[in-house]
Symmetry: C2
Subunit: 193 residues, 2 copies
């Protein structure tokens, strides 16, 4: 059927008007930052790097090896904030795993010059990006709220745990900033398909 | 060139495949939840209602009229958390104003049966929804982190301030849950245009 159709109508009116409607539409077939492009790979590496940096800052407490927790001082007493640490570590760990996986997928797609434009693959990436970015942002905001409460309203932090926690929070925020473009570009390419 | 091409190659791959690609595309011209629909108006009212509920819970402290702040107890001392209150109130206030404005726009569009499909209008709505939803979510997460820190890790809250703050945080979360569909639907309609 497909082979006989053009021979009967060589001018092919309906597809032409349909194609004319498509001219001003934004297609963004090779927009940098989408999966399978060099920009997308760079975004993934940034996400992974900052998430791992946040994770490492929380994990490598050389002078406090038994439990990686956040201590702060209040009227001379040192307090432990288990929740702050565990949620941030969990969210940032998930983010780093997800970004590493997608970076590997991007490297594979670039090396075999294959275009990642399958609808199911892009929707999977979009959902994953949405979930991980929401979790990372929530963890970073909760940590920032706790840091501000402890640092400004309550009193001073214990010597270097507070700075470490603040740095890890900032890294998580930067990681979220680099996940957001991936999510929005994936969602855009899913919608404009 | 286009007219002479099919006579040489009667199979005519490009226009047909282009038209075939357009068939399964989701257009969602009248999808409920987009601006100018009844579903969109309902979403806006939910956002506004929950944001105003959160604001009212923070503002109407009948037994503490001078400053609407969040008190918690630590070893018998009552502490004030100015930051927690001010950021949540600011974010939720902005959210309620934005949702009220868009609800009025939706009511106008529904009453004159006008379709809000202008590209600039939709992109303005999308950017506004993105900013307000991010701010509301950040405020809710920061408040939730502080509440968990105070309630679980530090000690008990002062009698009813803590419950009130937790309720306001929950309302802010629900408001964010209803802003997200608006943002995603606006972004989708912007991309699929």
């Amino acid at each position: 059927m497909n082979a006989s159709h053009p021979s009967v109508h060589p001018v092919e009116a309906p597809p032409l008007t349909d194609a004319a409607n498509n001219v001003p539409r934004l297609r963004m077939k090779d927009m940098q930052g989408m999966p399978g492009t060099l920009g997308g790979l760079a975004l993934r590496f940034c996400q992974f790097a900052f998430a791992v940096a946040s994770l490492c800052i929380m994990a490598t407490t050389s002078d406090f090896p038994s439990v990686t927790a956040f201590w702060f001082q209040l009227w001379g007493l040192e307090l432990l904030c288990i929740f702050c640490v565990s949620y941030l570590v969990a969210a940032v760990g998930l983010q780093s795993l997800w970004s590493l996986t997608l970076a590997i997928v991007d490297i594979y797609a670039l090396s075999v010059r294959r275009c990642l434009r399958n609808s199911r693959v892009v929707s999977l990436f979009t959902i994953g990006d949405g979930i991980t970015s929401t979790l990372t942002f929530a963890a970073a905001c909760a940590s920032a709220g706790i840091t501000v409460l402890i640092d400004n309203d309550l009193g001073n932090c214990a010597q270097n745990y507070c700075t470490r926690f603040e740095t890890a929070t900032a890294m998580a925020f930067i990681s979220w900033f680099t996940v957001s473009p991936s999510f929005l570009l994936n969602f855009w390419s899913l919608a404009s398909r």
